[in-house]
Symmetry: C2
Subunit: 180 residues, 2 copies
Amino acid sequence: MDVFDAIKTRRSIRRFKEDPVSEEDLRKILDAARWAPSAGNRQSWEFVIVRDLERKRALARAALGQMFIVEAPVVVVVGANIQRSSSRYGERGATLYCIQDTAAAIMNLMLAAHALGYGTCWVGAFYDEEVAKIVGFPSHVRPVAIIPLGRPAEKPAPTPRLPLEKVVHIEKYGSEWTGG
Amino acid sequence: MDVFDAIKTRRSIRRFKEDPVSEEDLRKILDAARWAPSAGNRQSWEFVIVRDLERKRALARAALGQMFIVEAPVVVVVGANIQRSSSRYGERGATLYCIQDTAAAIMNLMLAAHALGYGTCWVGAFYDEEVAKIVGFPSHVRPVAIIPLGRPAEKPAPTPRLPLEKVVHIEKYGSEWTGG
């Protein structure tokens, strides 16, 4: 799939078919994730693959009851390995870089999944401590996203976007961009 | 360009040719950025396009003297609009979601640029207050990245990646993944 098509036709998917995710596809998707750039190439990402029904249910409860998480055949819990980034970059590594590293990896993961015909949703609302406990993260790994993954059972319309002119500025914030 | 090829062949570029970035290409690249997902679709990103030589020099100095920034015909300063995210999500919006939103947008921006034959580099090390002053960000917009953009004048080898087995876990952190 063309990269622009992948970027523009990806949607947040909250309904999934029961079809499993093959190990081969899962490997391709996770491999794409780790080709993201990271600060100092520290690769501060951790991925926990959850298929167990009870564990998925626990994750959905920890995510304020977003029960569609349970529907997905695979749930990827993404952790930021704070230690891996902060050991070189201190506070900035712990509070900025490892969040950015993992977010960039998640974006790649979602594009790769979409290109292979899977749907994903970036779930960010959850109780950190509960999620960490469910997947066994030690204190230096912070859960940053829960990503259900599976064949989409819905075709959502694109969500609206702010006009480029509102978020693009020339030389200084607040200046107008006419887009050339 | 195929999305997997884009993901795997993108490199961090620190040497640029003088060739300009066309407005048409710049629009495509920024358009790709804004198709990233964001928490609650708040789209907490702001992009300042810098071409002015003195401003690029100031950015390079604020980025601890990373002078290759000046070489790029275009420098995109990415800001996280904290207010846009925190007005709905409070502290979690301010310290997590808007960092993730902007990082996801940057990943798309880099893939789109690469697909169009441009190089980029994710510069994260800089003095926040200086960068904010240079591009006129108000206090509710935090600079999160400086992205030089231009035709690559180098072909770096891929940086190494941790083996998937080290960062992928099954059901619980620390468990082994054999990759199917």
